[in-house]
Amino acid sequence: MEAEFNLTSEINNDCLVLKTDGYVNNYGGEQISNEFNKHFKNGIKKVVISLAKSKVVNSIGISFMIEIIEQLNEVNGKLYFTDMDSSIEKTLTIMGLFSYAGKASTIDEAIKSLN
């Protein structure tokens, strides 16, 4: 039995790049939020979340992203989502996330837009 969710994290061009792998549920959302907070404290203001390896998300997992956006807004930071399955993009659109967050096809594109 594999873990249902894994997260990898790296800094690229001043951007925190988080890559999810698996189901973004309550637990997944919390992992993303914790990892973000660690770097946010250290001054990171640009964040990319790549959902390339997530085929399913739920609204509870995604609701953690609202808090990230909120914190980034306060410091004029910005969040980008990349590599989204069309149904996941639709979900985030319904939730109104793209009024505050950006989207891009690839991580590189997102980093370019953030810099």
């Binding site: 399913v56 609701s63 808090e67 319904i94 939730m95 996330l97």
Partner: protein, 138 residues
């Protein structure tokens, strides 16, 4: 109905059990040759319906019934719990702007189900809640 595929499950209240239903959905969809885009949206609907039902299932009967009926054209998702029910019309429409600055960021499931399905019906009373979602697959 021709090529009508039906899957029924009664799910226990354990973590990520909704993924079992999603796996069933995937197998049915592949068998019928449904597009990736439609399957993706159906996955979201199934997931949201089941996590609500599991979360609000009854203390005595904690199980949740799930039924998928799929043809090449249409998917009917039926989910029922034995919880205490609720009044859908009293649930406030979520708004991301209002969610910012308030503690509770949740409350998106019903909106997502309504927006992503082609038809949506909730029947709820003190014996539990039944939700029926219809998704066109072409």
């Amino acid at each position: 109905m021709e090529n009508n595929v039906k899957l029924k499950m009664t799910l226990p209240d354990i973590p990520d059990i909704e993924l079992v239903a999603v796996e069933g959905l995937d197998k049915m969809a592949r068998h019928l040759g449904i597009s990736d885009e439609k399957i993706g949206e159906a996955r979201i609907l199934v997931t949201e319906a089941i996590i609500n039902a599991i979360e609000h299932s009854g203390k005595e009967k904690m199980e949740v019934d799930v039924e998928f009926t799929m043809t090449k054209e249409k998917l009917v998702i039926f989910v029922r719990d034995y919880g205490q029910g609720f009044k859908p019309e009293s649930v406030e429409e979520p708004d991301i702007l209002k969610k910012m600055g308030t503690e509770n960021k949740r409350g998106w499931g019903l909106k997502i189900m309504k927006s992503m399905s082609d038809d949506f019906l909730i029947e709820s009373n003190e014996n539990g809640t039944k939700i029926t979602l219809i998704k066109n697959l072409v």
